[in-house]
């Protein structure tokens, strides 16, 4: 996939589906963190925690989980 920044958000071109998505923070950061790794939710949270202030862990987990669900539905992320 290709990620390209614009002034107000990030464009994402997904080669396998040919789809274009416009994504806002924290989605680009999640994708960058995953890279080519497979991570559990908590691993992802603590990895992001290294660079970002995520606030209260429980709420952050809930929110990350929602984003991951959306990303899975679009086929941008898959469960292994």
């Amino acid at each position: 996939m290709l990620l390209r920044p614009l002034d107000d958000l990030v464009l994402l071109y997904h080669r396998s589906s040919g789809q274009t998505h416009m994504v806002a923070s924290p989605v680009p950061e999640i994708l960058a963190e995953l890279g080519d790794k497979a991570l559990h939710l908590e691993e992802l949270r603590s990895a992001l925690e290294q660079n970002y202030d995520l606030g209260e862990p429980e709420a952050a987990r809930a929110e990350l989980s929602q984003h991951l669900g959306d990303l899975c539905a679009l086929g941008l992320v898959r469960t292994t």
């Binding site: 789809q19 274009t20 680009p28 939710l41 992001l48 970002y52 679009l74």
Partner: protein
């Protein structure tokens, strides 16, 4: 369950701007709900807009059936439903009716509402859909 990117991992160096230091991530409620917007094919819209198009009510495959007030297509003789339109409506007529509240030509108040409900429910693959979609182009 661990998650991973699809077959198609992001090309790293051209990825999102990563700022140094710990930055507050935009997390929370409303933002979370719309962090991804997918671009849908607009082919039908723009292609039909260069043509003059029409919307039959109902679809020719179902002509002879009637249109209920909620826009669904029902069997002939259904109480409270309207017979189909004698001729297809043009894109312009539908646009005037949807945007400016002008009645579709030759229709009563309730009939007009039923027809418009039918048109709003059109789906891809049904006759008239590309035409209707072309009227939905965002401004």
């Amino acid at each position: 369950m661990p998650v991973t990117l699809g077959t198609d991992a992001p090309a790293r160096n051209e990825s999102a701007p990563m700022q140094p230091g710990r930055r507050q991530l935009l997390m929370g409620g409303a933002v979370a709900a719309c962090a991804i917007v997918s671009i849908r094919p607009a082919l039908a819209q723009s292609a039909a807009s260069v043509l003059h198009c029409q919307v039959p009510v109902p679809d020719p495959a179902r002509s002879g059936n009637m249109v209920a007030p909620d826009g669904s297509v029902v069997a002939p003789g259904t109480q409270g439903a309207f017979a189909g339109a004698g001729r297809p409506f043009t894109g312009e007529e539908v646009k005037a009716a949807l945007r400016n509240g002008k009645s579709l030509p030759g229709t009563s108040y309730d009939q007009n509402r039923a027809y418009l409900n039918y048109i709003r429910r059109l789906q891809s693959g049904t006759s008239g859909f590309t035409c209707y979609a072309s009227l939905q182009m965002p401004r």
